[in-house]
Symmetry: C2
Subunit: 157 residues, 2 copies
DNA sequence: CCAATCAGGACTACCCCAGTCCGGATAATC
DNA sequence: GATTATCCGGACTGGGGTAGTCCTGATTGG
């Protein structure tokens, strides 16, 4: 199904949220604003910090801050940061000649054009594109909602 | 990691193998030729038959046959047949408004451009492209191999 | 010195895929 | 008509990976 992890989903949400504010933001704060569980937000942010997508400020009054503008972050970077290198098959990703059946595996290099195509497709779309995306004419209803909603309604908070 | 299932891998191998022969081929035969376990080959072929990528002939002297030429089969079709519809997020695939947190989920439609990009990328590459792919200058060594190797060395058997 | 926050890892529960197997239906052959 | 080879469809099970939580330590401001 070619699915990417839910964490990547969260990462996009968190990053877009970060872009909306000026100073640093704490993970509890982001968790409250997005509705994503606090530990999970922390996990995502740590991962993103490891990939230099966000900067962290430790200690009291600390928090996270976006390093680049959304328009400078291709979605491929986010996926790579959270889900690891973008590659469709296990054969391709690094472990050269580690294929279980070297002689049998006819894939060696054969998925490369596919991987390249996907990679370039994902590199051409930035978070800004996703932020300003279609966004159907649907509005957030606060009815039957108990949690602190309002994740990012068109980034204009 | 954006990985697709190993079954898709197998499907490509099986389809390329099918393209090399004229008449129908049995799943045991393909299993022997490709080194893929027999039940798995059968499973893949059944799936491919359900998506009209291959035709099946039942009964004795039966088997499978390719419906279109490799050049007419985009890899997207194979992925869709084996792994289901191509969509990156769970939100997108069908279950409309089934998102666990409707108000919270800012993804609704936002991954669409990404999905579209990937879909078109995968539609532009056919099995023929993958068959005639880079194919590094490496040859199958029969040394230290016990299983029936020779999956498809450049489709010229 | 204390409180708030990030850092980094370990840990667990759950879900989905991979692979197998079985009984049934179909069709060619003898 | 019986037999045999093959596909059909589903159920079943085990393993791997993700999601999510938690804990201990390091850093920094009040």
């Amino acid at each position: 199904m070619l699915r990417l992890s839910k964490l990547t989903d969260y990462a996009v949400v968190v990053l877009v949220r970060l872009s909306g504010m000026e100073g640093v933001q704490t993970s509890p704060g982001i968790a409250a604003a997005t509705g994503i569980p606090e530990p999970t937000v922390a996990k995502v942010l740590k991962t993103l910090a490891a990939s230099d997508l966000v900067s962290s400020q430790r200690g009291a009054k600390g928090g996270y801050r976006l390093n680049r503008k959304l328009s400078a972050i291709p979605i491929a970077d986010v996926i790579a940061a959270v889900d690891g290198p973008i590659a469709l098959t296990a054969c391709v990703e690094g472990s050269t000649s580690e294929c279980e059946s070297q002689g049998l595996c006819p894939m060696r290099g054969r998925w490369d054009p596919v991987n390249d195509a996907i990679h370039s497709a994902l590199s051409s779309i930035t978070l800004a594109d996703m932020q300003a995306a279609p966004l159907p004419a649907f509005r957030i209803h606060s009815s039957s909602m108990t949690r602190p909603q309002a994740v990012l309604q068109t980034a204009a908070e």
